[in-house]
Symmetry: C2
């Protein structure tokens, strides 16, 4: 039996999330397992590095599965892509040690949240960004982001989380860019919020983003994020940002910062 | 009666093109006219600056229609967006002189073609770019582009065109960028081909792009584009690039280069 680490990209728009919770749902997990079931020798059971909700995308989600199939790993993506729908693509595969575990061996996960900041709504990005027409105070948002870096109890940002709520964020960063397909570059910008952490609680990234946007809109001050980490009061956090702006960007299997 | 210039954005994925050719098709024109029919006083007949095929997108397509409705123009986008599906958005509206004509008054049109150049296919950009896994020779492509600028007979690049085939291209430009949502910025790039011209023949931009990509792949040399313009032989041109990479970017109602 060989263990394969597989990296996939998916467009979350038409998936009911990554992980299967009820039978018959079109999840990424179900769709992958149905494809693997068509490969003789492959065990149709996948474990992913992270979980993502319905509508959330992934640029590079690592997962693992086991197989008796002797196919060279570099041929797996092409073979799988012939069996997968176009909104789910296998990008890379490699054979790993049998003790490798896509979730448990993972040292860090990276997420990006994409905001479209312009006056008019977008047809093209309706499934791929959160549209915010108001002016956002980016200086205040950057100040607020600094509070999140380090080891904290993120209870205030968790949704229905039963595990312990202490996590470490290695990096929290805001970048501004002109959209790839900007129509009116002068009055249009994208704001990307990037987070790298040891792991994230259920709903944590979207809840942090919703709270940061309240800072940007002047509805709360940047200090309030420190306060939230100290008190852990969910009801004081901002709203949960919508799923379509969130991307799982990647995960690492060596400590963050290691070569 | 007032004439309104309306600018719309649309995601072409689920439209059978802009212009209605057969009854019952889900075209941009049909969808807009159905929305206008719900506004008392509006004449549900639109004329657009350009035509786009099924799958082709628009960032800012100007069009006009007439109305007896006294609504202030700045309120039209919000009113229309309440009646339109999310893949078609009204961006701006203004009242124009009765002799304004979205197609006939137009001095220039701008298109962008988006190529995703990386080894692996993309789930997220499957409807929004042409995926090309091979290396492309950008120097040769830029040389080839220069041949297209100026007034030429573009017959070799036209598909089912009955009008005269002489057009003027003001600008033809290639830019390379890192995708907004790049997963692996080192091994991934977007190539954007931009064209501004007095007008374009049916299929012209996609046919030019297909030919330019053959230059990039080393299947033909950059001189062959000059040859094609001289001979006008359609069968010597490259294949038509797929629709999902093409964006109608905008149109202008003053001469190109005027303030």
């Amino acid at each position: 039996m060989r263990r394969i680490k597989l990296t996939v990209e998916f467009d979350g728009t038409h998936f009911a999330g990554l992980q299967t919770q009820a039978k018959g749902e079109r999840t990424v997990q179900n769709t992958l397992e149905q494809a693997l079931a068509q490969i003789p020798g492959a065990i149709p059971k996948v474990v992913a590095a992270g979980r993502t909700d319905a509508g959330v995308h992934a640029l590079a989600m690592p997962l693992h599965y086991d197989t008796l199939d002797p196919i060279p790993p570099e041929k797996i993506p092409l073979a799988l892509n012939g069996l997968l729908p176009p909104d789910l693509r296998a990008l890379a595969a490699e054979e790993v040690a049998p003790e490798f575990h896509a979730r448990k061996s993972c040292h860090w996960r990276a997420y990006r949240y994409r905001i479209l900041n312009r006056k008019t709504p977008s047809a093209l990005l309706r499934h791929y960004a959160w549209w915010i027409p108001q002016q956002l105070n980016l200086v205040a948002m950057r100040h607020a982001l600094e509070h999140l870096v380090g080891e904290h109890d993120f209870k205030a940002f968790a949704v229905k989380e039963k595990r312990p709520t202490v996590r470490r964020i290695y990096r929290a960063h805001l970048t501004v860019l002109t959209p790839d397909i900007a129509q009116d570059a002068k009055n249009e910008r994208e704001i990307h919020l990037e987070f790298v952490g040891s792991g994230f609680l259920r709903g944590q990234v979207r809840s942090m983003v919703g709270t940061l946007v309240e800072v940007g809109l002047g509805k709360r001050d940047s200090q309030s994020l420190g306060e939230l980490l100290r008190t852990g009061t969910r009801s004081q956090a901002g709203p949960t940002a919508p799923p379509q702006g969130l991307y799982f960007v990647g995960a690492g299997y060596a400590p963050w910062g290691a070569a």
